[in-house]
Amino acid sequence: MALTKTTVNDKIEVINQGDWSVVQVRTATIIAEDGVEISRNFHRHVVTPDADLTAEDADVADIAAAVFIDAAKAAYAAAQIDHV
């Protein structure tokens, strides 16, 4: 009986927010016994245009880099306010 644990970004979605888009990521942690999946848990996070992409997995970083064009970064930065 061999238990294995793998993680995979099984959903990477680009969500349009108007002047910019964010990248919504679901990471699945999969536990398998002799190759048969016995559990799957999800962790989510959203990558915004101001994010440090070096902290992201390559598949997420590649998509985010394509989405976060300079105009999107500028619009997002301008919108970062502390008040409603």
Binding site: G18, Q24, F42, H43, R44, H45, V46, T48, D82, H83
Partner: protein, 181 residues
């Protein structure tokens, strides 16, 4: 809509005796009961349970999503390193979140704003929530969303609550809900 099942449940209906794999609504089966199944119903992306036979119309009556998991709250412009944990459940478009955030003693007068929600927030950002516990002692805390889809803690007069005003070493426990974009 596709209903996956592994044989047997329609054993008394000769129309489905030989199915053993996939049923589709194209056949318009009159399903009165699925009984107790040992496997799951699975829907292709964008499909789910359609309630359009009731009043109303369109995709607003399609129940097409359920998910539960964890998320990692981050704090906007916070100079310290907080200890955080978070959980979410998404039912249809609604996202229900809860989290615990402990500040590390760093003094910071920035507005208390929580980012990195599990799903992007739909506009207009009208959701809200509540603080269930705050070891810092501050009681006048409103929980809402700002225009950037982040959770903002404010006073009842809409002033900023800051990391300092909540308590530099405080632990808050929070639950909130919102519509996903």
């Amino acid at each position: 809509m596709t209903i996956k099942q592994i044989g047997g449940i329609f054993g008394r209906n000769p129309a489905f005796n030989e199915v053993g794999g996939t049923l589709t609504t194209a056949a318009q089966p009159n399903i009165t009961s699925l009984g107790t199944q040992s496997s799951d119903l699975a829907f292709a992306s964008g499909n789910g349970i359609d309630f359009s036979a009731t009043s109303g119309a369109g995709t607003s009556e399609l129940f097409d999503d359920y998910e539960e998991g964890t998320w990692t709250p981050t704090l906007n412009a916070y100079d310290g390193t907080p200890t955080v944990s978070g959980y979410y459940v998404k039912i249809g478009q609604m996202v229900y979140i809860e989290c615990s955030i402990t500040l590390d003693g760093t003094s910071d007068a920035s507005g208390y704003i929580i980012k990195s929600l599990p799903f992007s927030v739909a506009s207009p950002e009208l959701g809200g929530g509540a603080i269930n516990n705050n070891t810092g002692g501050e009681a006048d805390i409103m929980v809402g969303y700002d225009v950037n889809g982040r959770i903002r803690l404010s006073t009842s007069s809409n002033g900023n609550q800051t990391y300092n005003s909540i308590g530099v070493s405080s632990t808050i426990k929070l639950n909130a809900q919102y519509r996903a974009a």
